[in-house]
Symmetry: C2
Subunit: 421 residues, 2 copies
């Protein structure tokens, strides 16, 4: 008898009928002889509704209380799911993050898991019960306050529990059939990937693929938990996210093309070209708690002794970053700031590119052939990313997908979506 | 600096505006120099909506999971209330029943408080914070599961916390101005009682007055906590529920008239008149977990050697009691069962009746004068209750109120209502 951890997102438990269907699937897994631990998100729009309520009483609600409020969402869905399972004749018990032993730091709204002590979950399993755990939440080690894990939190809860319990697999149920070679809304021939390595999945997630969150994949890689991403609306196999160290002769050079239209670009114009200036700029941004993505510094023209520094960051942090930088303009001595939110990022990802030269050239040629201008470039061992105009993203993705022959004609993709937690 | 515990019911926090108004009132209390602990119910119809969801996924949801589900209601209201207070510039922290140290037994849906260990509440108060506590819920001592306290649970939470913290007063905010000499919807001259003893309030609550629950008053009496019942919609003084042992020369003979239309009457016809028969009947009802109220046994006619036994019970338990009794008909040997749900109970309550003879006679005369027939009678030291036809209740209440001159002309009552928890 093996242990399976399943995670169901908000769209999978959007209403009573959805919950009953999910209950049936869980019971089927139990009937097949597995121990089952289920991690569940809040129903459909519950979180948005709660946030709306919060904003009606306070423009800037304290983070501790916002966490207390939002965790009511999973409390509702997990209790209903346990009831639906009981109604099918199986015993189920729901557990809050705290009860499930999800111990976090004290950073409300984006707490990090620092330990998982699932004693009560084990007890439930020992009694042949199905354990239902609230995703996205935990309890802080220091203050014993309720915390939330931020975006991707429920996926992370599931993988963390799978690791702590020694599960055979962590199944992430979502509203798509798995991870695709490109966003099927942009590329009709996009192909479901039957298998992808943790490293590739990390790059995909970091580059805009919404199906799995970075933190969850990082956690899975660290503990070697196989993750099976699949649809809660069908019984098809999805995508297995696994270790890539075994000798896989058939490993593809390129796994997929990811894109991201959620970033903006800030250019700091006329920065004095002397040591410490770039550091001062990025310290300013870091102190505003903003994560930046790509960075480019132009070659300094020796005539002026000044240079331009551009970087990308989430659009949602754009105003805050501009304000923080404007405050230190005199101190740092740059000339001006430019803000551009009409950019897009297109990334080519594949573990095989490590050993295959010429990938970059082929990628750039494909973009040039469809008239896409490259504005910034960033690479890792298994990824090449470019920034282009936002409206060029569809053409760029399609061209890259075509150039590396990633498409399939036998499989038609299902609607692509993605939930926040 | 004294400690005040305030409890706000669901109608007082029905929406964002209500919550903001309650926050203002709490802050005013804090500004007046008090430490404040607030107990809050779920917003307006939240509980009903959650129960409806539960019934959509399961006709008979497990009690543990129902408790987990329903406690989401207070989690939402308490977090929002803490936010609203923070928005007024005061620090507030919300605590679940478990966090507040409300320890209960394991009877889901109607758990009893067995201990209160409010360490975290004290800590919050020590840090000059306003503590917001979820009413109606606790954590079971044995299983560490989330429990709910059943009807009147939030009032009980408030009084229990007031006792554990040594509060000066427990203020119960509701949608009426206090406790009245009769239901103002039935008696226009009904008068707000400025003061009532625990004993009288217990009898009032047991006899249908919905403003305070029996358990809450029992708790307050046991620990000597003064309870101030008042409206959250005005600043008027309400009703003080206090100890009656001090020598109060002006104590009224009669405090008020309560009525209850929620009961039904079961008559067990033709019970063999021999020892143990009545015991067998009430054992059967007790085993079905049904509380009975009044009991009358007719004088046995020596000819038949049989008697009739009537008792009243909540209408909601009527079907269950009839079914349980029908099962033991042959064993006990009674002739038949009669069910009557068209009854009403009218009760006269007053600590002064202990030392004033003639109250019963005056009460019955008043009923006779308006043509109300008495079907059952039950008395305590400070109460006389009669059962009559349900449609006679308004006339009976008005007649008794008039006969004992309980009315006032100077004060007009506000709409009467009452919440469940």
């Amino acid at each position: 008898m093996s242990l399976v951890v399943q995670k169901y997102g908000g769209s999978s438990v959007a209403d009573a009928d959805c919950i009953k269907r999910v209950a049936k699937r869980i019971v089927d897994t139990k009937k097949a002889g597995h121990d089952v631990v289920v991690v569940v998100s809040a129903m459909g729009d519950t979180t948005d509704e709660l946030i709306d309520l919060a904003q009606q009483v306070s423009p800037l609600p304290p983070a501790r209380e916002l966490d207390m409020l939002l965790t009511a969402g999973e409390r509702i869905s997990m209790a209903l799911l346990a009831m639906a399972i009981a109604n099918l004749g199986f015993e189920a018990r729901s557990f809050t993050g705290s009860q499930a032993g999800v111990i976090t730091d004290s950073v409300h709204g984006k707490a990090r898991i620092i330990d998982v002590t699932p004693g009560r979950i084990r007890e439930a399993l020992d009694q042949d019960q199905i354990a239902i755990v609230a995703g996205f939440q935990g309890v802080s080690q220091d203050t014993k306050d309720v915390t939330t894990l931020g975006r991707g939190g429920s996926d992370t809860t599931a993988v963390a529990l799978a690791a702590a319990l020694g599960a055979e697999v962590c199944e992430i149920y979502t509203d798509v059939d798995g991870v695709f070679s490109a966003d099927p809304r942009l590329v009709r021939t996009a192909r479901r990937l039957p298998r992808i390595t943790y490293e590739e999945m990390l790059e995909m997630a970091a580059c805009g693929a919404k199906v799995l969150h970075l933190r969850c994949v990082e956690y899975a890689r660290r503990y070697g938990i196989p993750v099976h991403v699949r649809s809660s609306f069908s019984n098809r196999e999805g995508t297995w996210v696994v270790d890539g160290t075994d000798n896989d002769m058939e490993q593809a050079i390129i796994s997929g093309v990811a894109h991201d239209r959620s970033e903006a670009k800030i250019t700091v114009v006329g920065v004095p070209d002397k040591p410490g200036e770039a550091a001062a700029i990025f310290r300013t941004v870091a102190d505003a708690e903003i994560n930046i993505d790509m960075v480019v510094q132009n070659v300094s023209s020796s005539a002026s002794g000044r240079t331009d520094i551009s970087f990308t960051l989430p659009k949602s942090d754009g105003q805050a970053a501009m304000a923080a930088l404007a405050k230190v303009q005199d101190q740092i001595g740059f000339e001006s700031l430019q803000y551009d939110d009409q950019i897009g990022k297109v990334s080519l990802i594949g573990a095989g590119m490590r050993s295959h030269p010429g990938v970059t050239a082929k990628f750039f040629e494909a973009l040039a052939n469809v008239g896409v201008n490259i504005e910034m470039i960033s690479t890792s061992e298994i990824r090449i990313s470019v920034v282009c105009r936002e409206q060029d993203v569809p053409a760029a993705v399609a061209a890259a997908h075509e150039a590396f022959e990633l498409g399939a004609e036998d499989e038609q993709a299902i609607v692509y979506g993605g939930t926040g937690r």
